[in-house]
């Protein structure tokens, strides 16, 4: 029975290894690897969470919304800027997170709050501005949001999202809501 190619190859490799390497050498390399290994980051793992927190906002003090908040899909209620939005997201209605859909105009008045961006842990000042002039946007149910981080009851109207902010527009018909960033909260 002829010796298979794999057997020949295996034997050659094993013999070469045995001839060229010493057991002490192997032990030395393993020791060096073990000593040096902790100095390297675990490369496949995202290390952002290991960085020191930029703001003292430990997870224990986050609101329920902030724990679930995401920063990738602005057409979902969990998008971080929507931490206190009550209404239909304009992003689902032909507009964007800070633009009104065609045929509507932004209300000159709005209410202003703060939301935490999960990417950098910082708070940002957000203006919640309604888009007015058409009947309420017929968007999927998932686009209708009612979140309330740092919202106040209606007796503090400047911080209440229960109000339809379509004042001072040609039409007071409510269509959808936007959430524009004004700046980083100091």
């Amino acid at each position: 029975m002829p010796v298979s190619f794999l057997d020949t190859l295996g034997e050659a490799v094993t013999r070469r290894l045995a001839a060229r390497s010493s057991r002490r050498g192997m032990l030395g390399r393993m020791g060096a690897a073990m000593a040096v290994a902790p100095a390297f980051p675990l490369l496949p793992v995202r290390r952002a969470d290991a960085a020191p927190a930029p703001t003292p906002n430990p997870a224990a003090t986050l609101t329920d919304f902030e724990r679930r908040a995401q920063s990738t899909d602005p057409t979902k209620c969990t998008y971080w800027r929507h931490c206190a939005i009550d209404g239909v997201l304009c992003g689902c209605c032909g507009g964007g997170v800070h633009t009104c859909p065609p045929g509507t105009e932004p209300s000159p008045v709005s209410w202003i709050g703060t939301c935490r961006n999960p990417d950098d842990g910082r708070s940002y000042v957000i203006a919640y501005r309604d888009c007015c002039g058409r009947n309420i946007c017929a968007a999927p149910k998932s686009c209708g949001c009612n979140t309330a981080d740092r919202e106040m009851p209606i007796y503090r109207p400047q911080a209440s999202n229960d109000i339809i902010w379509c004042f001072g527009t040609a039409s007071t018909a409510y269509h959808c809501s936007t959430a524009a960033i004004i700046g980083q909260a100091g």
């Binding site: 390297f40 980051p41 290390r47 202003i112 000042v125 911080a159 700046g183 980083q184």
Partner: protein
């Protein structure tokens, strides 16, 4: 020979480490606390820069300082319910009012005007306006301010627009 592998890794490490660990610097301006108080309590309607641009809400930019032309006008700004009942300490409210009046008010502030003090704010907010006819009271204040500082006449724009709206509503609804 034996060390080539670790050295290669060490060379990569500084490049990869901080790039992954550091949060991306935000290009957005950091809003100081006093401006933040203004934005949360007033800026939604009066405008991020104090310009509401419409006659529905009085402009602050270039106008609000005129109210300091009379003692009653100066008091009026703090006795307005949303100012007097603001969710702020009197010290914070004093800082915010000084920011609004002196920064937004700009050239409308009369010369030699003194800033609001914490004690003055505390006393004024203990005496909030109680009149139901707030627009009538404002109109009265604005007339006196305009007599003292003729340049303040532009303040009447809001009162005229408001009176027109009231007229419309009264005409449409039952007589009051």
């Amino acid at each position: 020979m034996r060390l080539r592998f670790p050295i290669l890794f060490l060379a990569i490490l500084p490049v990869q480490g901080p790039a992954r660990a550091g949060p991306v610097a935000s290009p957005l301006p950091v809003i100081p606390a006093v401006q933040g108080h203004y934005l949360m309590g007033c800026g939604g309607c009066h405008g991020i820069q104090g310009r509401s641009g419409r006659e529905v809400v009085p402009d602050l930019a270039g106008q609000v300082g005129y109210f300091l032309c009379t003692p009653e006008g100066r008091d009026y700004l703090v006795r307005l319910p949303n100012v007097a009942f603001a969710n702020l300490s009197s010290a914070d409210l004093a800082r915010m009012m000084n920011f609004v009046v002196f920064t937004f008010g700009g050239a409308s502030v009369p010369a030699n005007s003194r800033p609001y003090t914490t004690a003055e704010i505390a006393a004024l907010r203990a005496d909030p306006l109680r009149t139901a006819d707030l627009h009538g009271y404002r109109d009265q204040i604005v007339r006196a301010v305009t007599r003292a500082c003729p340049a303040a006449a532009a303040l009447h724009g809001y009162d005229v627009a408001q009176a027109a709206r009231e007229g419309q509503y009264t005409g449409a609804g039952p007589a009051r």
